[in-house]
Amino acid sequence: MATLPIRTSSVSRFTEVRRNATNHFVTGLAIVSTVIVLVPLVAILGYLLYKGFSSLNLAFFTHIPAPVGEPGGGMANAIAGSAVVLGLASLLGIPLGIGAGVYLAEYGRGRFFGSMVRFTADVLNGVPSIVMGIAAYALIVAKQQHFSALAGGVALAIMMVPTITRTTEEMLATVPHAIREAALGLGVPKWRTAISISLRTASPGIITGCMLAFARVAGETAPLLFTAFGNQFWSFNLSQPIAALPLQIYVYAISPYDEWHRLAWAGSLVLIVLIMVSVTLVRIFANRGALKGGS
């Protein structure tokens, strides 16, 4: 058996050193950028933990805000209010967003109406959140003559829709055409193929998109200022003003009282932890029942 000739180096020693140096330089740049990005993130989280944790106590989760001048009090009503408003926003925003995304990916390709919807979604995505609040104010609050949890939920839902729509569309675009053909070839109608095959195959990415949209609006204050408005007391009535964590944090943070500042820190920490917990829970739930060896 003939042996293969050993490849002799055709590049000079200098070139090799230069290539290695370039490689290290680029890798180094990537690492430095990552660190620069991480530093403020970790710093914020760390400071939040430091400031917020010391003010957390059981009363924070069980009591409503105390009147000015009285010590103690908590944000129980704001936590519940946030849950109500966010639940409402998700209930409205997620189905609408996914539906529009399915339309764009499965039916609206190359159609004028499709490009219009896509363009509108992109523009909406860039609209400042306070504008969404004004829109919900004009649509609901001005008509009903009072602030309400419903208006807050709608404002947040409008914010969620464009993100979810575009993520859904992009995730569906990554589903191979061959899989759709397989379903169509079995005599499965197109609508059923879109829902049971395309959407299901793309669901991990779509769930991530929904979670991102959720996490983003969970911390929004501006759209709630003149929709949900805030409430110092318990309320679960959708047609009444309702408290929300970001609103409560805002009010306490700009107040002149040290006690309230501490509560604002605690509220910020609770808000972030609640967002992390809900996102993680959805992920665990969504991954249940995944099969071995699936892609």
């Binding site: 190359g110 191979p176 061959a178 899989i179 053909e181 397989a182 379903a183 169509l184 070839g185 079995l186 005599g187 499965v188 109608p189 059923r192 193929t193 049971s196 095959i197 299901r200 195959t201 669901s203 099969l291 071995k292 060896g293 699936g294 892609s295």
Partner: protein, 252 residues
């Protein structure tokens, strides 16, 4: 039981490209019919016209008559009905990645609202046995994703999936071209067994494969069907000079 297919003056277009021109052909029931020809000659378009998959592409259209038994598939039935009666196996295995082997096989039934557990179980076993995959996967039916199988197993699972809806015709668009020789020979054995119960149309680039599995062979070139005859005749004594050039490897 399979049915015969009669094709009259079939023309097909992609946009302005006239991909199939005046195809006339009779495909006999319960036989395997091979379609050969160089890439881009229209064979795939042709089989896609037989189950109306062609028209899923918005720029594609077709004219002419395709009769499956007594049914004119373009006038007497919806595309969805036709595709339930005419199964298709594609060039690359295309399992549904989120589904188990079991769900892949009965996806055609389940996605059309069929829920009877006992019949689904029976269908899975029958189809996988027909596709010669039962022994290899029977212990992992609901545990493993269809996408976790090897390429050759995936393709046999796709055949089982097509058979599960009990079609009369099975279209196979280069079913073995993405597979290794061992898997290829398994697929060929399968075609050999299945053709007693189904009408099989197989597109292939592999002429030995056509010779091994099919009673009849059609040669396509540039959107036209140049010659259609018994496989033996096509490979030993073709009428047309172009067929001869192609099968002897002078072009294509």
């Amino acid at each position: 039981m399979g049915v015969g297919i009669l094709v009259e003056d079939l023309n097909a277009w992609y946009g302005t490209t006239h991909t199939l021109q005046d195809i006339n052909l009779h495909i006999p029931a319960n036989h395997a019919t091979a379609l050969i020809g160089p890439s881009g000659c229209g064979k795939s378009t042709f089989v896609r016209c037989l189950n109306r998959m062609h028209e899923t592409n918005p720029i594609a259209r077709a004219t002419g008559v395709v009769k499956m038994g007594e049914i004119d598939i373009y006038n007497d039935a919806s595309p969805v009905e036709i595709r339930r009666r005419v199964g298709m196996v594609f060039q690359r295995p295309n399992p549904f990645p989120t589904m188990s082997i079991y769900d892949n096989v009965v996806s055609g039934l389940k996605l059309n609202g069929f829920r009877n557990r006992r019949i689904l179980d029976e269908t899975v076993e029958r189809s996988l046995k027909q596709a010669a995959l039962w022994e290899e996967v029977k212990d992992d039916l609901k545990k493993k994703s269809g996408a976790s199988l090897s390429g050759g197993q995936q393709q046999r699972m796709c055949i089982a999936r097509a058979l599960a809806v009990d079609p009369e015709v099975l279209l196979m668009d280069e079913p073995a071209s993405a597979l290794d020789p061992v898997s290829t020979s398994k697929i060929e054995d399968l075609i050999f067994q299945l053709k007693s119960q189904y009408t099989i149309v197989i597109v292939t680039h592999n002429m030995q494969q056509a010779a091994r599995v099919a009673e009849n062979t059609g040669f396509f070139l540039n959107g036209k069907m140049v010659e259609f005859d018994s496989t033996h005749k096509i490979f030993t004594n073709p009428r047309d000079k172009r067929t001869e050039d192609y099968i002897t490897g002078r072009f294509g």
